[in-house]
């Protein structure tokens, strides 16, 4: 009797384990070993200095902006169904120095707070009329910051009301699987669940490029991009 009960319990347990294992295999993405996608982004085109509106009516001497221009960078991010958002997106910073937003493009996860710091001796007035996030931070001096929470996914264009040549982009994404290329154009997105995705690379003023990739658990996949100027 006892042997029979034990046997039955073992059979049921085995069957349940087999069902769970089969379900896990059918899901295909539950392998705990994450994947990595990495590569290089190259820019093609004549990157013109931005057309600018010089202050036609002012006799104020131009500021001594000796800051070297930042190297071009691209945002690389994944698109896919099984990319979970982080529990608490980190705060990001856009600095205002040398009458420029630094960085010029920034990717954040939905819900992230972006702090706009003023490092110039003059006032700036950050604002955006984007439908994703409309705000106006007013004028504030050097050393101070004002922040904005971006709680909708999309692209937000940011300007300074006082200096019309200043602009930046905040790309709000639904998850944290994104990165920005380094000065040499290289990027790396680790800890990605295995699966099929689109990998997207974008910068301003370049055309967005989207490529498909299948990431296998525990493996690294290389994917390079060539971004062409939009105009």
């Amino acid at each position: 009797m006892r042997t029979s009960l034990l046997f039955r319990w073992c059979c049921i347990s085995s069957a349940l384990a087999a069902i769970v294992a089969a379900a896990s295999y059918a899901g295909g993405n539950q392998d705990p070993r994450p994947a990595t996608v990495y590569g290089h982004v190259e820019f093609r085109g004549f990157v013109r200095a931005p057309s600018y509106r010089d202050d036609f009516y002012s006799y104020r001497p131009p500021g001594q902006t000796t800051r070297e221009p930042d190297p071009l960078r691209a945002i690389v991010y994944l698109e896919g169904d099984n990319l979970e958002p982080a529990s608490q997106p980190p705060t990001a910073v856009i600095d205002q120095k040398g009458e420029s937003f630094v960085p010029h493009i920034l990717a954040v996860e939905r819900g992230a707070r972006v702090s706009f710091r003023n490092s110039d001796d003059i006032y700036h007035n950050v604002f955006s009329f984007s439908k994703i996030r409309r705000f106006d931070l007013g004028r504030y001096p050097k050393g101070q910051s004002r922040s904005v929470v971006f709680d909708r996914v999309g692209l937000v264009r940011v300007f300074c009301e006082i200096h019309s040549h200043m602009s930046a982009f905040v790309l709000v994404l639904p998850h944290s699987y994104f990165t920005t290329t380094d000065a040499s154009g290289s990027y790396r997105i680790p800890n990605v669940p295995a699966g099929s995705y689109h990998v997207v690379a974008w910068s301003d003023p370049f055309r967005l490029v989207r490529k498909e990739v299948r990431l296998r658990s525990g493996e690294s996949s290389e994917l390079d991009f060539l971004l062409e100027q939009t105009r």
Binding site: R48, P71, L72, F159
Partner: protein, 399 residues
């Protein structure tokens, strides 16, 4: 003509630098793009319930509150220390005319000193830096920069009574023996719709900025060519104790009458009669609040009136941003004139003093577009029949 201007703008908005075929790194490409150009356009259309509004007339006889204006601004900087600038403007669909064309250059490598020469904007006071519609929170202009007195550059009053008889007639004043049918309207304290030929040097040292130079004509009668043998000398300083606060002072002196008036001057030369002006201004901005204030005094010498003809104007203006893209603004403005003695012995101001209040709001849903709605209320101290209360709307496109 308007379509020609817009067509020209579209043509010029095309990139001037062809895309290179060979892939290149961004850093190299950015260095190659060193010469910079800028093309921008301002389009503004104003409409009001006042068709002619003598209190809002421009030098060209247009009504500021009923105006269709297209301005194209070109600038080209072959290097960081040289710039070329041109402003071409059409009003009410008319032939575009050259508002300004000048060169800016920094002759010394290690200093922040610049020279600007050509047909140049006014350098007196602070308002001329923000007079274009996108920067002007309201639609009208301060009285100091827009009210046309009866004084003209080509025609002089025969005496105090002649001048007093033309008070409030700045758009079409006619003195006895003058040239009332000439192309001149009366003169404001500072004319901003016409720019003068001249040269200025300006720079900064710490928290101070300075400016000095010479132009043809005067503040109230800027000239593109020398029409009176005189030269205006002007200077300006600005102090910035903090990023929020600017305080400035300006002064100018020059001959305002032109050669055409010579036969009315009793054998004296037009360059013997001067306009002298001094002014002070401040600007404060912090958070969502902007405050502006200016005070100006001007004196004209007139050949057949022994007493000086003085005018004093002051205004206080503020703008507060209520929401992103929405602001409220207001300007309280006062213009008064010195007394002169009429033939009957009475003392009267040589123009009618007046007060103006302009309040309104602006709305932008896109950064290149601005809509304004204002109410402008003008009260004369004496000639109340000339009072004007106006509602005006303006649409501004700025690219």
């Amino acid at each position: 003509m308007l379509s020609t201007l817009l067509g020209l703008l579209l043509l010029l908005q095309a990139p001037s630098d062809p895309t290179e075929d060979d892939p290149t790194t961004a850093d190299t490409a950015q260095e190659q793009a060193s010469p910079r150009y800028g093309i921008s356009a301002d389009f503004d259309w104003s409409f009001s319930n006042s068709e002619t509004s003598p209190l809002n007339a421009t030098y060209y006889g247009d009504n500021i509150l009923r105006l269709l204006r297209v301005s194209l601004l070109f600038n080209f900087r072959p290097s960081e220390r040289v710039g070329l600038y041109v402003n071409l403007t059409s009003e009410n669909g008319g032939t575009p005319h050259l508002y300004g064309a000048f060169v800016r250059l920094a002759p010394f490598e290690d200093t922040n000193f610049w020279i600007q020469a050509g047909q140049i904007p006014q350098a007196f006071g602070a308002f001329p830096e923000r007079w274009y519609p996108f920067a002007n929170s309201l639609i009208g202009y301060p009285l100091m920069y827009s009210y046309l007195t009866s004084l003209q550059p080509n025609s002089v009053p025969a005496g105090p009574d002649d001048l007093l008889s033309q008070r409030g007639q700045g758009l079409s004043s006619q003195f006895r023996g003058g040239y009332g049918d000439a192309d001149y309207a009366g003169m404001p304290l500072v004319e901003i719709f016409q720019w003068a030929a001249g040269g200025l040097g300006y720079g900064s040292a710490g928290s101070f900025e300075y400016l000095g130079g010479v132009t043809a004509g005067t503040l109230s009668n800027p000239l593109q060519v020398d029409e009176n043998g005189g030269t205006q000398v002007l200077g300006r300083v600005r102090f910035r104790p903090s990023p929020a606060l600017n305080a400035g002072a300006s002064a100018a002196r020059g001959a305002y009458l032109v050669d055409l008036a010579e036969e009315q001057l009793g054998g004296r030369s037009p360059d013997a009669f001067h306009q002298t002006a001094v002014g002070g201004d401040f600007h404060y901005g912090r958070g969502h609040l902007l405050l502006y204030g200016e005070l100006g005094w001007s004196r004209w010498e007139s050949p057949h009136i022994d007493e000086p003809l003085d005018a004093v104007s002051a205004f206080l203006e503020s703008r507060y941003r209520l929401l992103p893209g929405v602001y409220a603004a207001g300007r309280l403005d006062r213009l008064s004139f010195s007394d002169i003695t009429a033939r009957n012995g009475s003392r009267q101001p040589w123009e009618y003093p007046l007060t103006r209040l302009e309040v309104g709001s602006g709305f932008s849903w896109e950064r290149h577009v601005l809509l304004k709605l204002v109410g402008q209320f003008n009260w004369y101290d004496q000639a109340t029949d000339l009072d004007e209360n106006i509602i005006a709307f303006q649409m501004v496109l700025h690219f």
